[in-house]
């Protein structure tokens, strides 16, 4: 495939500009660990919350004031928010220094936030009634605001969610309360079906369920499998991707992923065009 020189930081390829994000210091009003090895953080940031759309992320400075280290911000998706209270909640996994810092925040300690960043998830075209959400592990929470919006817009939503073990099935209660039917899979069989969430989705897609559209968020291997399955089934939808970021603003050109375009390919900036990419578009070779 040929490289196509099309996308650069200052080109606005997408229809709607990102609403002007904010930088603010937000106190954390709730912090804790409702799930083993997974953490929740609730932040009070009314101006920022009033701008949020499903699919956007916050860029958090995970270090003490005046410190230089760890240097870069950490991107974390917004899992839910409450406009009247001016709060939003994030779920995260402690995997390194930045997330370890978050897990040690004291209540009311303030965090430097940038956001909302990234494009809101594109909505299904009219007529695409039945929507499947396929989520794995820490990829579950980013789909919760989307599920609520899809329901409000009158779509039929089915959630496939998978995790290593029962205790890590994030936000199950919230999805239940919102009225989203779901199928559970765990790696160890401690809840729902034993095995991979992708296989469960594939089975239902082939044998018992009709879907018009999909969204998926989770580990790279899972996204790749879902892309293969849905592309083969002729379904459209979106993969919710990750990449290593510095600025989150489209300035450093560090967060590229390779996407197909026509007969060729190009590098897309995840923080500007993403974080959702169309099924069939992503090249998983890097």
């Amino acid at each position: 495939m040929q490289y196509k020189a099309t996308v650069y930081a200052n080109d606005r390829l997408f229809p709607e500009p990102i609403p002007h994000p904010l930088q603010q210091l937000a106190p954390c009003s709730d912090r804790g660990s409702p799930y083993p090895e997974l953490w929740r953080l609730t932040l009070h940031a009314p101006e920022l919350v009033s701008l949020l759309k499903p699919g956007q992320f916050l860029h958090l400075l995970t270090r003490p004031l005046l410190s230089h280290d760890p240097l870069l911000r950490r991107p974390i998706s917004v899992a839910s928010w409450h406009e009247e209270h001016g709060t939003c909640s994030l779920y995260y996994q402690v995997v390194g220094r930045g997330t370890a810092y978050l897990s040690q925040l004291q209540a009311m300690e303030r965090l430097d936030l940038l956001g909302p960043l990234g494009q809101p998830y594109p909505m299904p075209p009219t007529g695409q009634q039945s929507v499947a959400l396929v989520a794995g592990g820490i990829g579950i929470p980013p789909l919760f605001p989307l599920a609520k919006t899809l329901l409000q817009k009158g779509h039929k939503v089915t959630l496939f969610l998978g995790a290593r073990t029962r205790g890590q099935l994030l936000m199950l209660g919230e999805f239940r309360q919102a009225g989203v039917p779901y199928f559970v899979t765990t790696d160890d069989g401690s809840a729902g079906r034993l095995g991979r969430v992708v296989d469960d989705f594939h089975d239902k897609l082939l044998h018992s369920h009709h879907f018009d559209y999909i969204y998926t968020c989770g580990p790279k291997g899972m996204l790749q499998a879902v892309q293969t399955i849905t592309a083969a089934a002729g379904l459209s939808g979106w993969l919710i991707m990750e990449s290593h970021m510095a600025c989150g603003l489209g300035a450093c050109l560090g967060c590229t992923i390779r996407v197909q375009e026509g007969e060729g390919w190009r590098y897309a900036l995840l923080c500007q065009e993403g974080v959702a990419f169309a099924v069939g578009e992503v090249c998983f070779d890097v």
Partner: protein, 316 residues
């Protein structure tokens, strides 16, 4: 800036003039380091772009470059490695789309950073940009491999001078040659570009480094090596600015890890006439304006009428 309480009195003059033959006058000494500020628009939600002393753009090459494959960023202690690979849309796109956008910032001086594989590529770029209105200066990034011998142009005095001379011949704009810290002695290189007709020197570019994934036992960056930037490199950059100030009489745009106004002052005392904020923008989009504000408050507090008086103070 609570630790530099402003006092009543006259507003200090932060303006600096770089060079004499082709003077580049800036209303304050703060610009952006190439590649860390996009083309400015990305930062407009967070700050007033026109408050900058100047805006330095991302590397521009003759043809579009897609940049490097694979992972491009690794965080390191108080720093980061990047291997972006000069990703940019090329000269024609720049002239058609980007430059008109940059002109919307009015009087803000625009410093265009250029890169090439060959001496003639640099010359072609400079010749073309020389005809365009709205460009205040060129910053010539010579920390690129010369395809003819694989060495960086900036690594030897002879090749550094060769590029400088070629660009000088075709271009009347102020020329700032951007040097790499990855050399054993910076002084002869600075002298060589001075003799070849440069109007100033920018330094430092990022420091060559690497990181290895202990699981895969392989380099994390697909390009193996990357450029280290951020606070981690600041002492190296400061030392080199100090050395270049001693070695030649060209004005210096100092950069490397500058994050706060205190950092910027160190560079000015070491001999920088202006400073560029790089990696700090990627973490705090207001870094530049906070530095400008801090410099003003420092001058006011210490009753410095003109910031330019402070340039090179550490040598006196």
């Amino acid at each position: 800036m609570s630790n530099s309480p402003a006092q009543a009195g006259v507003t200090p003059d932060l303006a600096v003039t770089l060079g004499t033959r082709r003077p580049l006058r800036l209303k304050n000494p703060v610009t952006t380091a190439s590649g860390t500020f996009g083309y400015g628009v990305e930062f407009a939600p967070y700050m007033d772009i026109t408050a900058l002393g100047a805006l330095t753009t991302k590397a521009l090459t003759l043809e579009a470059r897609e940049g490097n494959p694979g992972r491009r960023l690794v965080e390191t202690p108080a720093g980061m490695l990047n291997s972006i690979g000069l990703m940019n849309a090329g000269l024609e796109h720049f002239l058609r789309e980007t430059l008109p956008q940059l002109r919307q910032f009015g009087d803000l001086p625009i410093i265009v950073n250029i890169s090439g594989h060959t001496v003639s590529e640099y010359a072609t770029l400079a010749e073309r940009l020389n005809q365009e209105p709205g460009i205040a200066a060129l910053e010539v990034n010579i920390s690129c491999p010369n395809v003819e011998n694989g060495l960086l142009f900036a690594s030897l005095p002879e090749s550094a001078a060769l590029v400088t001379r070629a660009v000088r011949e075709v271009c009347d704009l102020p020329l700032f040659i951007k040097l790499t810290p990855n050399v054993s002695d910076i002084a002869p290189i600075a002298k060589a570009v001075e003799e070849a007709g440069a109007d100033g020197i920018s330094l430092i570019n990022s420091v060559l480094g690497m990181a290895i994934d202990i699981q895969t036992r392989q380099a994390i960056l697909q390009a193996t090596f990357g450029g280290l930037s951020g606070p981690a490199i600041r002492p190296i950059a400061l030392r080199m600015v100090y050395q270049v100030y001693q070695a030649c009489s060209l004005p210096i745009i100092g950069m490397g890890g500058i994050t706060t106004w205190e950092d910027a002052l160190e560079f000015i005392f070491a001999g920088a006439s202006a400073v560029a904020i790089g990696t700090a923008n990627l973490v705090n989009p207001r870094a530049t304006v906070e530095v400008i504000q801090g410099l003003g408050e420092y001058c006011q507090y210490h009753k410095v009428a003109c910031l330019a008086e402070l340039i090179g103070a550490a040598h006196r």
